[in-house]
Symmetry: C2
Subunit: 104 residues, 2 copies
DNA sequence: GACAAAGTTTCCAAAATTTGAAACTATAAG
DNA sequence: CTTATAGTTTCAAATTTTGGAAACTTTGTC
């Protein structure tokens, strides 16, 4: 594995890592519909806002969401439209796989 | 977050977790071109075959690859075509994000 | 049967992630 | 200025994931 290949794989893996948590998927689905602030997302998910904030900063770091400050609130919004298709594809794949394992 | 929503998010996250490792991304890219056996993939990635085997079984468990035994060899092949598009989209997003951070 | 090659599984240590509480910052309102 | 609200950061503990060596299984060959 040459160095350039390695870097590319690390970049891609890093992006998928940001998607590899149920709460972060949930947040992205909410943001698909409209922007939300941290406290609203935290309340909806039923987790402390410190946890919500950390999950959102991971998504932001991966470039999947963006934020904007309004007074004391920070609104998060989806930036990468293809993420939605990814999630749909993922669900399709997982469901198909489950079907196969249970014997078609 | 209702129970059904939770399950769906967990399923999706589980799938992305399988993609969240550089070696597994590397394997998928090799398999994009043609099927390979464990020892070949391990040699290409420069890791022990026990590690390669474990990564491949994670991919298989997520339904992203399938395997077939031929003598002592086990050939792995890609099953989910949309994974390729996902990875491309991911790379695009990450690159765009990096550009933004470095100031357009 | 003995041996070699390919894979998988097991075991355990090391590394990374996740969690919640508490401390801290910033803004708005009284 | 004081208080309340929204968010972020820090900390330590708990959990999960990873990595490598060694043991084990299976198949093919001599």
């Amino acid at each position: 594995m040459i160095e350039e290949e390695k870097r590319r794989c690390e970049m891609r893996a890093h992006m998928f890592k940001a998607l590899a948590h149920p709460v972060r998927i949930y947040f992205l689905e909410k943001l698909k519909v409209s922007p939300w602030c941290v406290c609203e997302l935290a309340a909806e998910a039923g987790i402390p806002k410190s946890a919500a904030s950390k999950h959102l900063s991971q998504l932001k770091e991966a470039g999947l969401v963006d934020d904007e400050k309004n007074g004391t609130r920070v609104e998060y919004r989806l930036t990468a439209p293809c993420v939605l298709e990814m999630a749909s594809c993922a669900e399709g794949t997982v469901l198909e796989n489950r079907r196969k394992r249970l014997g078609i």
